[in-house]
């Protein structure tokens, strides 16, 4: 059994630690590229959301490298993600690949089945060993997320433009080649040391933009056309609302115990949306209000074309924009997104909030 999984931001680092630690053969799919998206768009249904199309591309590229089992998580609706596993299996079947899927979910609340599936995927019955490895993987993901955050923070202020970009590229390339948790930790601390040496322009006070929206388009840099790097290169400090590590600890640890770390966020957006309607609409609205309250200059919402919960969120956002007087822009992403048009919109948006800020400062002064 050689397992593979779809890409989503830093998930592959965690999966590597988890599976290599347990001694399972794993194929990390090549970084999502136009080829992956093209394969996906050709075989997936026309109106399905973009993440599924890229997933299909990832699978095919992994299968070409020898993978024969696919791991994916599931959910219980009402968002379409709950049916990803089923649909992807059907699509691959029609393409002529007979691939086994292991879907991590508790079907109709059956936790024992979920444990059986995890045991099957990890090829060990020892739950303690699995749990230990999961904790290790989770720690690595959180460390990588923290590194990502730091890089974004510095990139907006760096003296010599492009130095962070080089470090990031190096880091991403090396993560694919190193083996095991220990080497990854070394790589992270090594990269962290490199970041310490980057010279920062302390006089530059960057604009602050919050990124909200659907989790896949936020986390996977290929589908959002590296929006964070683009904004950072325009000298903007970016804060992304969702990270893989936070999401995992929220859903694996807090939610099953009936707790939530997002209490503050929910409270911030309560008057606009007070319930979960599937996907990340609730978080989107909550974070939008939260960013407005914490003095951000602008907010950008990202969603794949046709994402149902985010469309509801999109129609609520104008009210938040009006109430707090913070500009919000929505970017819809799919396989037809052109990079130039996208860049132009980002530049125009940044120019606009820059001028808005200057005007406000002048009148206040």
């Amino acid at each position: 059994m050689i397992v593979t999984f779809p890409h989503m931001g830093n998930v592959y680092i965690g999966a590597k630690v988890l599976m290599e630690g347990l001694g399972v053969d794993i194929v990390v799919p090549p970084i999502s590229t136009d080829r992956a998206l093209e394969i996906g768009s050709a075989y997936a249904p026309e109106f399905i959301c973009a993440p599924l199309k890229i997933n299909i591309g990832n699978y095919i590229e992994s299968i070409e490298k020898g993978a024969d089992t696919i791991l994916i998580t599931g959910s219980d609706g009402p968002c379409r993600f709950g049916f990803y596993g089923i649909m992807e299996k059907e699509i691959l079947k029609d393409m002529g690949y007979d691939i086994e899927f292991i879907i991590f979910e508790a079907p109709e609340g059956d936790v024992k089945e979920l444990i059986r599936r995890i045991q099957k995927a990890t090829q060990t019955k020892n739950i303690g060993k699995i749990a230990k490895q999961i904790i290790k993987a989770q720690r690595i993901i959180i460390e990588t997320d923290a590194l990502d955050r730091r890089m974004l923070n510095i990139e907006a202020r760096e003296m010599e433009k492009g130095s962070i970009r080089k470090i990031r590229k190096n880091f991403k390339n090396q993560t694919r080649n190193v083996k095991g948790e220990k080497e990854l930790k070394e790589l992270i601390s090594h990269t962290s040391n490199k970041l310490d040496k980057v010279i920062i322009n302390k006089l530059h006070k960057p604009l602050k933009i919050g990124l909200i929206g659907e989790i896949y388009t936020l986390i996977e840099p290929y589908i959002n056309l590296y929006v964070e790097e683009k904004l950072a290169r325009l000298g903007v400090e970016v804060d992304r609302s969702l990270y893989v590590g936070d999401w995992l600890s929220e859903h694996l640890l807090y939610r099953p115990m009936g707790l939530t770390k997002e209490f503050k966020i929910r409270k911030a957006g309560k008057q606009y949306l007070d319930r979960c309607i599937g996907g990340h609409a609730w978080e989107t609205i909550g974070y939008a209000a939260h960013y407005c309250q914490s003095g951000y200059d602008g907010i950008i919402q990202l969603l794949p074309f046709g994402c149902m919960p985010e469309i509801v969120a999109e129609s609520i956002l104008p009210s938040i924009q009006k109430d707090y007087n913070v500009p919000i822009m929505t970017l819809v992403l799919d396989e037809l997104t052109g990079e130039t048009g996208y860049q132009t919109r980002l530049e125009a948006f940044v120019d606009m909030i820059q001028r808005k800020k200057e005007r406000r400062e002048r009148y206040n002064a």
Partner: protein, 339 residues
């Protein structure tokens, strides 16, 4: 006091309940007019661009009656069945309306949620009379009367009536199906709000009946069959409409001879999230077996009828030619002529 109900979305699924409930309590119901070009334009103007056609039409209906009523009834249909959901846009419908349309009257937004094992029906009824001065006991009676009325309506739909006719009748009625000179039978799969809104689907059902084809919809198929075949999915279908559509689709694929179905038409609206999964799943299963002609018609804000007419006519013609060739001419893929 007037309560406005937009004639869109789950109107075709629940209207008898709402109507009986409020009329029983002595309120006047103002129904928005049937969908027309003006309503569609209003909807397109007020709604966010990415939303699907039925949601835009709903916005148009709200816009068209908001000035004529004291209260506006916008239900939040989170779940219509145990363990199931509806589309997220229906779950967030009141929020969408509130934030896109200005100068609204008071909104009544009851939450119909049957998702959990324990259903808080009292809360739903309390929500339904939120801004009204009504005795709760009285409202409970009205609700149970409404449910009875709804059951009769559903039975009439099951017996082959269209909603417009079924709404007028208060008792169960069997339609005389044999009066149709029937050339064949077609299964029409669609959400009720696309299927029964004759403006946005360009009167598809009537057109097909005029061509001599009996149309069978999800409402004409018994719940037992739907549940049995939907249970064959590897995972529980968590959308109510999805379960109904996939259940009837698989039912027809398996028992097409007994039902005498000649083809399947899937009517979906542009960028419908549910249909991207449901229609594709059914289509893949039909394609693999190569036994049934299948067509997916997509509707959106465009109102030109010629395009959709051409596609329907071509589809019907193909079915007829297939029949004339003794069913041996494949409508898809390789030719399976065996003579």
């Amino acid at each position: 006091m007037k309560i406005g109900i937009p004639r869109a979305l789950l109107y075709y699924y629940y209207f008898p309940l709402w109507k009986t409930f409020y009329e029983e309590l002595g309120y006047e119901i103002i129904l928005s007019p049937k969908t027309n070009k003006n309503i569609l334009d209003l909807g397109v103007k007020t709604c966010v661009d990415e939303a699907c056609l039925p949601i835009k039409v709903f916005h148009g209906h709200v816009e068209s009656i908001k000035n004529k009523v004291d209260f506006l009834f916008i239900p939040r249909n989170t779940s219509l069945n145990y363990g199931e959901f509806t589309c997220p846009k229906l779950c967030g419908l009141p929020e969408m309306i509130k934030n896109s349309i200005a100068e609204l009257p008071l909104i009544i937004k009851p939450d119909f949620n049957l998702h959990n094992r324990r259903i808080n029906l009292d809360k739903t009824i309390r929500d339904m009379i939120e801004h009204l001065e009504v005795d709760f006991k009285h409202a409970q009676d009205a609700y149970s009367k409404g449910i009875k009325r709804l059951e009769v309506y559903r039975k009439n739909l099951f017996n082959g009536m269209f909603p417009d006719d079924a709404l007028k009748i208060t008792r169960e009625n069997f339609m005389n199906v044999s009066s149709y000179k029937e050339k064949g039978r077609l299964l029409i799969l669609s959400h009720p709000y696309n299927l029964y809104d004759t403006f946005i689907n360009m009167n598809l059902l009537k057109k097909l009946r005029e061509m001599g084809y009996l149309t069978i919809t999800v409402d004409n198929i018994s719940e037992e069959k739907i549940n049995y075949y939907a249970g064959k999915l590897p995972k529980k279908m968590f959308w109510t409409f999805g379960r109904q559509l996939i259940g009837s689709g698989l039912y027809v694929i398996e028992e097409k001879e007994a039902l005498g179905i000649d083809g399947v038409i899937f009517l979906s609206s542009f960028a419908c999230g549910l249909d991207s999964i449901i229609a594709d799943y059914i289509e893949r299963h039909i394609k693999r077996q190569r036994i049934l002609p299948f067509i997916q018609l997509t509707i959106d804000e465009q109102t030109g009828e010629a395009g959709i007419d051409t596609r329907i006519e071509a589809f019907i013609e193909m079915i007829e030619r297939r029949k004339a060739n003794d069913s041996n001419l494949s409508s898809y893929g390789e030719c399976i002529h065996r003579s």
